[in-house]
Amino acid sequence: MSAISVRDLRKSYGTSEALRGISFEIKEGEVFGLLGPNGAGKTTTIEILEGYRTRDGGDVEVLAFDPERAGSAFRERIGVVLQHSQLWPNLTVAETHRMFAGYYEQPRNVDEVIALVGLDEKRDARVKTLSGGQKRRLDLGVALVGDPDLVFLDEPTTGFDPAARRAAWDMIRSLRSLGKTILLTTHYLDEAEQLADRLAVLREGVIIREGTPAELTGGSSETEIRYRRDGHDVVVRTTEPTKLLHKLTAEAVAEGRELEGLSVRRPTLEDVYLALTAEHRQ
């Protein structure tokens, strides 16, 4: 079953084409990452799927609804974290959750949601006293209070410190284990690699690559070996890393020197992503 199905989606703002015919499917229970640089069309895509924007062309189905025409029945089943949005500074964390819970037919227990997003200790704190990361967790809690089947997360960890990002990732993983379908946009490659079951890389309104993180990185068979010699960095790419490494270390041991700063690494998603977007630029 597809939770989201998009075929040949197009959208222009004035004369600039934000989306030039993109297609993808997201299965129920899947975490799908939409990855790309700023201005690639990620937010336009997610906002069309959420029902905020109309499309110029193509077919879109979200939970079997057309979001452009869908009403309350559709909104009962989605949860939304917007890229930039704040909540009422003078309400407490618990009050904000209770207010949103009242909008849904069958909301989740507010205390459970607050615990799920790790704000138990801030339950009775005013929203204006929360840190940036805590506010973002509040956004997520409010998105989950209606017990949605599908959650949209538009750049959920932008501006987080590393610890807060790890915590957010754990939360998103726990959502997946609840069986929620998640559409996530991000420009952090490690985030997409860590969280997404499948990814689409978007650039200038076109999907230039789609697959699992392993498929995207697995396309390249080269391994990179790096070390320092006489104060210079040496970088070698090889398809036979075992052989090359053996040769290098044997030489170094024979000459009685150290391979300073030795590292062996597989190309990361970042390398693939940069190579892909660079290819496209030419």
């Binding site: 905020y52 949005s85 207010m99 009242g102």
Partner: protein, 248 residues
């Protein structure tokens, strides 16, 4: 209906919890009334000054609460993304806006009641005699100002500028239409400007009913002009009201 009651309860809580709205929207006209009655005494247009100022301050309160207060609330919610966020929930937009409007009407009603009580305590002003006419007149006035408040949000681009813009409209309007005292001695051009403003006609209704024992239906012209401003506000609001912030 359940959703409406839910939202209305939270709107009231939000209003009274915010110091800015409780002080500037609710308390300010009441403080101004206390100040003005301390300064003016004697009679204005043949009536005791405190009675006239009470009528004037109720009119100013309608503009300050239903127009400026409502507009600032909506612009600030729009610019920080709350209106957009609400649109992603099952709460229907019409229910949301109705609850916001009814909530601000409740604030205005409490404000009017407080003004009458304060007038009574400080200056022995009388209770209104034609209560039904007065309530209907204030409901019409507040509705017209609320429609204009909705309309103007489309023209205010940022939260920072909003209270400045609204005060530049509301304070001169109150001054030109006689909220703070008689306009008889104003230059002709200022009186002519005052004569087209909606507050002038709301004050006409309030003064007619409270000071001169008239009924609402004795004032068809004022009803028509206020209603016209309200419909104009509604029409503009339908074209310009936005739920989403300007993209940064």
């Amino acid at each position: 209906m359940r959703l409406f009651r839910h939202q209305l309860r939270w709107e009231q809580r939000l209003f009274w919890r915010s110091r800015e709205s409780a002080v500037f929207v609710f308390l300010f006209p009441i403080l101004l009334f206390a100040l003005l009655t301390a300064v003016y005494n004697g009679r204005i247009d043949g009536r005791p000054a405190p009675w006239v100022l009470l009528a004037g301050m109720i009119g100013y309160g309608a503009a300050n609460t239903a127009f400026a207060g409502l507009a600032i609330t909506l612009v600030s919610r729009r610019e920080i993304g709350i209106l957009k966020r609400i649109r992603a929930t099952p709460l229907p937009p019409a229910v949301y806006l109705t609850a916001v409007l009814v909530s601000i009407m409740i604030v205005f009603a409490i404000q009017v009641a407080s003004l009458f009580v304060l007038g009574r305590l400080l200056e022995s002003t009388p209770w209104p005699s034609h209560l039904l006419s007065l309530v209907l007149a204030l409901a019409l006035g507040a509705a017209a100002f609320a429609a204009l408040g909705l309309a103007i949000t489309g023209f205010i681009r940022s939260l920072e500028g909003s209270s400045a813009v609204l005060n530049v409209i509301v304070l001169p309007m109150a001054f030109l239409t006689g909220s703070f005292g008689p306009t008889r001695h104003y230059p002709r051009v200022l009186r002519a400007i005052g004569d087209v403003l909606p507050l002038k006609y709301l004050l006409d209704l309030i003064k007619g009913i409270y000071l001169h024992g008239q009924q609402l239906w004795d004032k068809p012209l004022a009803i028509a002009v206020l209603g016209g401003w309200g419909l104009f506000g509604m029409a503009v609001a339908l074209g310009t009201f936005r739920w989403e912030p300007r993209e940064g």
